[in-house]
Symmetry: C2
Subunit: 329 residues, 2 copies
Amino acid sequence: MAHGEGARLSRALISKIILPRLCRSDRRHLVDAATVTTRGNRLAICTDSHTVTPLFFPGGDLGTLSVYGTVNDLVVAGATPRWLTLSLILEEGLPIPVLEAILDRAALAAERCGVEIVAGDTKVVPRGAADGIFINTAGIGELTGVECIGPQGIAVGDHILVSGPIGCHGIAVLAARETLGFDPAPESDLKPLFESVSALRNAVGGGTKAIRDATRGGVSAVLHEWATDCNLTFELDEAAIPVTESVRGACELLGLDPLVIANEGTFVAAVSAEESEVAVQVLRTLAGFEQASVIGRVCERTLTDVVLRRGHIRIPVEEPAGVLLPRIC
Amino acid sequence: MAHGEGARLSRALISKIILPRLCRSDRRHLVDAATVTTRGNRLAICTDSHTVTPLFFPGGDLGTLSVYGTVNDLVVAGATPRWLTLSLILEEGLPIPVLEAILDRAALAAERCGVEIVAGDTKVVPRGAADGIFINTAGIGELTGVECIGPQGIAVGDHILVSGPIGCHGIAVLAARETLGFDPAPESDLKPLFESVSALRNAVGGGTKAIRDATRGGVSAVLHEWATDCNLTFELDEAAIPVTESVRGACELLGLDPLVIANEGTFVAAVSAEESEVAVQVLRTLAGFEQASVIGRVCERTLTDVVLRRGHIRIPVEEPAGVLLPRIC
């Protein structure tokens, strides 16, 4: 079970068992979307299966998630999202009005992103062989401009920024599922990232080294992956990390670290130090990104991938290893 | 449960509930793959979720099926398959060697078809929330030549051909699942269709009106869909329909009609009468297609979509309505 949570065990399953079997050696790098070329045109391609429970949660639902999640993978890869496929696995007995509501949300989300759902598939499995409904989406986007140099290009002195408060999605789904009774209920950050990522790239261009949406495994998982790629250490300033009151409260109560909690509309970026102030200012002009912040910087390699500065002490940030919050996305 | 079996109820679920919500009105026609244009280049896009049980069956397995199934959807749409995404939903407790074996088969199948698996995703759900493993694949192919006119172009007098014996896949999976003990065990027809469809299109070009792989709902489902599209009636000659001994025996024993049983490497084509003899001859030169046959012709519209001629009597062929064989693909 611990293999599905987007962090260390998951990375081991994917990198040791899945990628060597399925992918060409030059494709074994974990990225949000693959790049292919068809007769001179470059495309980004990605896929995501969505198994979130509950199907509806504050700030989102399975249908919206299955569209925005895949669209955002294309966006952080530098692509303009164009087409989606949407495939349903339905458990016998799923009420039709529930299916209808989820499809309506998915359609609305696609419309908002300007992507078209062009192909689909529906399988029904017997009661007990699936949990209500799973949705897989695959996305295709057009690559036009210059892409980021990628995490290999991250250098000492670069700044790390997040586009908003972290951990909202994971806590919102967990609170809804376990009926933890927080008041007000924490809301997911689920939203499309096209506008904000475009604004960032337009504003700082080549100064943006890498962008990732911090989904499963949260900000911590992204930075651990990047640390391996660039062989440097990330030092975060705890006081600078935006966290909402409700996420902070829930994390304290449950003994969770917001850095490892999933987001669904919040990205991490590595930006050159000269450009980071502009980057943050540009993002803060956008609705939903008012709390974009520089949260740390890139340092010479030490023994740890990621360290958190709390006042004068430095705490190693472990890579999230196992089941933190299953079925978050 | 009856909604997933690729025939009448499934078509109702898809056409009444799913398509109107998700797809632009000009995309609501049921086709194997959608066509899009990116900067002048035409692509075919399709998706399929695979939930077959058992995971291994005579002639195939989930991994191979999830590659060939999607590749074949691109092929019958006239595309050259290029890229696949592959997304796993794993049930907690699935033995790693089973996963490895399935992935190895998927990789081999992709290599055989010359397609590249470029993107993936893995979700693990708790025990009981899925049945072992589900695989979704999405496929992207390049459209270069002229496509078929489509089922709307089918005309009175055209011939209907099948590329080989029908019903093998469904019977093979059913026999393996229910351990029916047939000896020899019926084998699935699972195979890629690129070579055979290309050969057909090269040989008879514009004479090929429509091609479909006869998966869920079998040959009957394809012909019922086409009958609606062209508003004509298909008359089949029972004696001309290739059926293997083991499928015939199993169908007689179980009271099933081979025309409604799923295939995974057999297609139906509507071809102009002048070209049908050439079409069959060309197909029969290919390994696995030696029994390609003209099985009927297109007639003026009568009260039924499809009718089966048995000697001097004519039997209406009903559209498969509900659960014939669940979890066949």
